[in-house]
């Protein structure tokens, strides 16, 4: 078997012949160096990546904390709005009950509509507007026809069809249907 040679040329143009097996002797060291270099490079990139990921996680955590705080503030605001709405409804109900009681006491013995419905307390109830509709419908549910006029004045509607007008009961049913169709729970 003839020896194999490897020719290399230096930058100055000097040609050198070297038996190939000598290269084989140098190769493991070179490979080792290259692998070590690769490992170092990989480790460096991994460290960079890890640092970037950690920074991203920290940013996400901060964002999540801010979102959590924001959500909590929104929930608190919503609870406050609900509390204020309940309070407003309670105040309106108290005001309605008080005015209705005054009106009943001062006009309850009258049959004349002008004596009943031109009373300041009744007019004040009309002046309370849409907020008082649930309480008016509550009275209608108890078969009181006294509140049809106030409901018509506030809603500017009259759901009582001519065929429903034969009794207070049928007129009340027409108003309660109107209430249900317009989102009022009575």
């Amino acid at each position: 078997m003839s020896a194999r040679y490897k020719l290399t040329k230096s930058p100055e143009g000097i040609l050198t012949a070297k038996e190939a097996w000598l290269d084989e002797l140098e190769k493991p060291e070179k490979v080792e160096r290259e692998r070590e270099k690769e490992i170092q490079e990989y480790t460096r990139r991994l460290a960079e990546l890890s640092a970037r990921r950690l920074a991203e996680i920290a940013a996400l955590k901060a964002q999540a904390r801010r979102l959590g705080e924001h959500a909590m503030r929104l929930q608190e605001a919503q609870e406050e709005v609900e509390r204020q709405a309940k309070e407003a409804s309670r105040v309106i109900e108290e005001q309605f009950v008080s005015l209705a009681q005054q009106w009943r006491m001062e006009t309850g013995f009258h049959s004349s509509p002008s004596a009943k419905f031109l009373h300041p307390a009744y007019l004040e109830i009309i002046g309370m507007g849409k907020s008082v509709i649930p309480f008016l419908l509550g009275e209608v549910k108890k078969l009181s026809g006294n509140w049809f006029l106030a409901l018509r004045a506030i809603t500017r509607q009259d759901p009582v069809a001519p065929e429903d007008a034969e009794s207070v009961r049928t007129m009340a049913e027409a108003w309660l249907r109107w209430g249900k169709n317009n989102g009022y729970e009575v």
Binding site: P113, S144, V168
Partner: protein, 167 residues
């Protein structure tokens, strides 16, 4: 139908309230016969033709169909208008409130200042009068004067018709 069953304290409270508005009731042995309701009023109760809604010549611009009033009758509160409306139901004017066998009588009360009708009462077959006090209770009272007051005025007209079975 018997009088409304009430405890002594309830009866006392209702009597106090009524006598505040109708002072003559203190002199009358009156009784309370129903719960409060605004499903009918004194005129529907006096008309005695089934009480499904109140009767009044209410201005249709405001009261729509909330009140019954005979068609073709004007929407005015005068006693004359009430007389004409009740004539449609078979009543005729008569002179006095004394009980007459076989007849049902009604009385019309007028506010003497405004000359507007304010109330009506009906005579029962035992001669006692019955009134629905607006949205409040039905009462039975011995005399027509019992509910005369600054609110109802005084009796200005009696009408009668042959008595039917319904009380």
């Amino acid at each position: 139908m018997p009088p409304l069953l009430l405890s002594q304290s309830e009866k006392h409270a209702i009597h106090q309230l009524l006598e505040r508005f109708f002072p003559n009731l203190t002199l009358d042995n009156y009784e309370i016969w129903s719960e409060c309701t605004d499903e009918y009023n004194c005129i529907a109760y006096a008309g005695n033709m089934g009480c499904k809604k109140p009767w009044w010549p209410a201005d249709p611009r405001y009261s729509a169909r909330d009140y019954y009033w005979p068609e073709c009758m004007p929407f005015v509160d005068s006693v004359e208008n009430f007389i004409r409306a009740f004539q449609l139901f078979g009543y005729e004017t008569c002179s006095g409130p004394e009980y007459e066998d076989g007849f049902e009588k009604v009385a019309i009360y007028e506010d003497q200042t405004t000359k507007e009708t304010r109330h009506m009462a009906r005579q029962l077959s035992n001669g006692i009068w019955t009134s629905k006090l607006g949205d409040w209770w039905d009462i039975q009272h011995q005399t027509l004067e019992a509910v005369e007051s600054s609110h109802y005025g005084v009796v200005v007209q009696i009408m009668k018709r042959p008595r039917k079975g319904l009380e």
